[in-house]
Symmetry: D2
Subunit: 359 residues, 4 copies
């Protein structure tokens, strides 16, 4: 075969429309088109292969996905174990808590008068609105809850597990925090200080200075220990931000204490940021390979798209083609109620890194 | 009701995943989420209302949609009369002709070595490849066809109708040009000089200087006459570019010769360009209202998305919910084989604008 | 030297701030920073090398640059022969004509009420406003001018030369069209049918159907003949669009009739579109190499930036470092008043391509 | 004056090129053009007004600005007190530390083979490279330094002050951390857990579990106390991310404990993210007004641009027009060496919020 023929092997297959196509069928017909449509179809295949393989799947969540109506998709991914460990911004967890507690977000427009909104205590997230007075009440609720915890630092993972438990106890409602609590899926929030959850925690100190301490440096070790223990990992990133890097950092840090891990085996990201301004959110997954965040032979694809557009289709398709993930996968089992978590029945070290695997 | 309550009326409804959801069901569940997901669901509703109403629907097509695997969706939209009149870039028609003639595009990657591709006569469109030698043969075919036409200027609309006819006669294959020919749907290509079709036409002059003349100024009048005649119009724009403005210009120009038309009644656009750099491709549909391109009360929505991601879902949903558009719509009827086209049985003026409606 | 050392050779040099730095000094200090800042500094160097070399420099202009306050920069580039041949959208020429005729654009905001603007006949271009009634008067002026021309098709290049002449005669004001007229710099407008200039031309036909004919296919041959004659060419593209591809197409078409030309020797582009959606405006210059639009060894750089931000700095720097371009360059000399233009004293063929160079 | 005339008052003034223009002159001539060029010129004026007024100026820094060659501009802004308090991502501080310690970043390309880079321990940041082995040595250095601190949690602000001091003592080199140390400008790093500085801190625990604790919740209270004490504040945000929200959150949290503060008086942001995907990085400053992050009458402007392109010009201009900011401003004075910082001679509470201003 000539070099030219080797370039021109796989034809583009135009998408053929038919009535009644399911999400799974639509994505399947997008596999041999081009650009971001093809990338989304590839992401679907990569995720299916993650589920079929024996890997620990991290999910990173940034951007206003909870406010934007995707929180029950995220809960569904957790409950059905399409993912095993969540890393989130504080805002997504806070807006989730807001709705789990029975409050709502509202449809607005990006063209409203923001000064008038301010005067009515309404906060705007692009085309979505929320009642700020209810937010203040949430903050108080979080502060009160934090004051009931022990007078010691909690990793964000431990704190969020208990927060999910309290929410489940109080409301019995589905959401990200409650689904993770019930499924024993850990949630990390490395930038918790940059969120209303952090604000609530800081307010707990007005009652008792020993309350509301979060050990985010402990989260670094714990997340790396997950990789050290499970070794074969995958990454699903929605929106970039601190979760994207935190998931990658776990992999790099794990390799430092347990050489040979060398990056995630699978990775997909759905981001709106672009690579050419140099920021980490928009960085390509190829770039991540240079850092060893991804394995040199990782199965990976990036999609340039708004998650509100891509995730409903992707999650609906997964529900069709992999409905029994929870049963068929050999998903890792976590125990999260203690200061030191456990994975598959083995407790983590009380502090720092698990060096038992160091060669 | 207080002012605050009036802002906070319609709740965001989180998307609920289920197995087996169709495209129509997925979009329906996206109606009350946020951001571009909601906008795509709104675009679906706007298009359904266009179809249900008695309006002439323009479709604008820019970006590498044909090379990228969407040409049979566009053919489907034409054949089933989800649209009535197409305005396209030359490239989309050329890449359509390429495939209708039996050649193909190929799956590549944006990270290939372009100098090596050049040496093998392979052209790259981001992640998609094509054989340049086949393109040269297309150009010759277009030049030869153009040389068979009369020695007079043709509007792009008239030329493309005959080109579609020739393709249908030669190949019997479905595609944009052949579907439009068979459905008597006009195609305008205002920037035909900026395309390989234009290059083929220019080569016809090497045979005969009187061949290969395109009367693009005539296209302006003809497109405006369509609006003057039909008056109630709608616009579906994929990708911005010259088609977007040409469709809007038709509306503005029509109002000049037949005051009271005042812009499209419906409009949706799916573009990747953003408004804040001032370019026409990214301009919001609100901005179009200031120009009178859209009616002040137009039913409209813009979606910021790659068409390869949004259109397969949107067209699949339309096929489910409006399968009989062709039968149920009162679609305008065109006759396109002559120098002066006809609409609903009435011939257009031989030159310039139809002023019979001038008040 | 180890492979690793060969990667890590040229250090990033942090930008050092000082009072009083000129544009030239600022760009010089940006040469060894990163991302789009470095790219702009590289673009400055590429442009300087174009000017120092014996190449024909094309300038492509898309986006609302004239409305946006850059038209006198473009006139400056033409007058001082930092460029030799312009390809523009119609809108940029129309908005230039508007101001040359003494009308103005106005500062507005993207948050104004577009329906209210419509009711006052004010058109909005993002944050910029214009009086639509004055636009209608421009259209009439163009129609009247077109009616004074001969009853035959004009290439856009020939038409725009005479339009520039008329404007200069009437107003004596500097602008893109008048500067090009005075400097004998050709302007092509391949998508003239998608603009208010085209609308004015179409209105001329209401007076006389033989008026207002533009031979855009002739433009294709003429632009390629420029490349066939001069052979060594460069491309400066602002904003993508039809000008970008038209300039590249000239190069490809020239190679067809005069093999061995093989693409521009230099290229820089300043665009806001991104490559990953597949559209031509955002396509990288590397991709252009696969097509032979750029030479395999072309000196090239792309900048992802809004021209309103990048061009004032870039043009100011060029004015400092290359103030005598007009004198020191061996710029090509055009004669543009006839149907067939001349380059460096030699007339082009009356129709089609110059095949005298064909090997 | 008619309504129409009131819209059309201030004319666009085309930019006029001249040789030798300084950065200040270039920006001044961009004030009445359009789009992002105008916005950058407006940002320049807003920053000048911040400096002239008696406000506390926050600077937020996200994106790879240090790796990308802007760290000495940031140091310059700190040293000359164009800003008073910095909020940064960990990466910007880490890359700053890397260079302050005498290591370098290198010029690369976004098209390099990342798997080959991985095999050579070279990390890529778009078009910029760095030696990963040197990074590992930095991590060890940070771990060793952290082990010398007291066995108690430090706010990121306190920790970074001491880190800057250590760097200054060791190297005597200019940089962000050392400039802030010397100028007594606080730096907060709310997402320190998502960075190599955090990784270094976590490694300190391998020596002693009581080391490497960062009290990020304490940072929330401290940053709000700055606003409570100074009340009139301003925000300069480069790149969005956690710093953008953290600065805004300080304002909202301050208002909670000291009602009447109601948001920053001035704000400018230079970001590449866009608003329409709903993420906080791209959110408009208007949107921030709905939340009370900005005052309803705040003097504000957002620029959509890469900081590597915008900041060199902006900082150069400021250096020309406001060279004596340090002398002429009434800049707040901080004392940062203690667990509880002081502002203008008054110590902050040991824990939680300053409620002495509560009405």
């Amino acid at each position: 075969m000539s070099k030219k023929s080797s370039y021109l092997q796989t034809t583009i297959e135009p998408f053929v429309v038919e009535p009644g196509l399911t999400g799974d069928e639509i994505l399947s017909r997008m596999e041999r088109i081009s650009f971001q449509g093809r990338n989304l179809a590839s992401a679907y295949r990569v995720w299916q292969r993650m589920i079929a393989d024996d890997v620990m799947i991290f999910l990173g969540v940034a951007g206003a996905l909870s406010a934007g109506g995707l929180r029950l998709i995220l809960a569904h991914l957790i409950t059905n174990r399409y993912v095993d460990c969540v890393v989130s911004t504080g805002a997504n967890l806070y807006h989730d808590l807001h709705e789990t507690r029975g409050r709502r977000h509202f449809i607005g427009s990006h063209r409203l008068d923001d000064r008038d909104l301010q005067s009515h205590h309404i906060d705007r997230v692009y085309d979505t609105l929320v009642d700020e007075d209810e937010f203040i009440e949430n903050d108080n609720w979080i502060a009160a809850f934090a004051a009931t915890l022990e007078s010691r630092p909690y990793t964000s993972r431990e704190f969020l597990y208990h927060l999910g438990g309290k929410l489940w106890e109080d409301t019995g409602q589905d959401g990200i925090l409650t689904a993770a609590f019930r499924a024993n899926v850990p949630i990390f929030c490395p930038a918790i200080a940059d969120s209303s959850i952090g604000m609530g925690l800081s307010q707990a100190r007005m009652t008792d200075p020993a309350k509301g301490h979060v050990d985010v440096i402990g989260d670094i070790a714990e997340s790396a220990n997950i990789v050290i223990r499970h070794r074969r990992t995958a990454s699903v990133v929605l929106g970039g931000g601190t979760p994207k890097n935190f998931i990658n950092q776990a992999s790099v840090q794990a390799d430092f204490y347990s050489p040979g891990i060398s990056g995630h085996q699978y990775a997909l990201q759905i981001v709106t940021d672009v690579p050419h301004f140099g920021g980490a959110s928009g960085a390509s997954l190829d770039e991540a390979q240079s850092w060893g965040k991804l394995a040199a032979d990782a199965d990976h694809v990036g999609v340039q798209a708004d998650a509100t557009l891509a995730l409903p289709l992707l999650a609906s398709a997964l529900a069709s083609s992999a409905p029994d993930a929870k049963k068929t996968r050999r998903a890792p089992e976590f125990a999260l109620s203690e200061r030191a978590m456990s994975l598959d029945g083995r407790r983590f070290p009380d502090s720092g890194y698990d060096t038992s695997h160091r060669s």
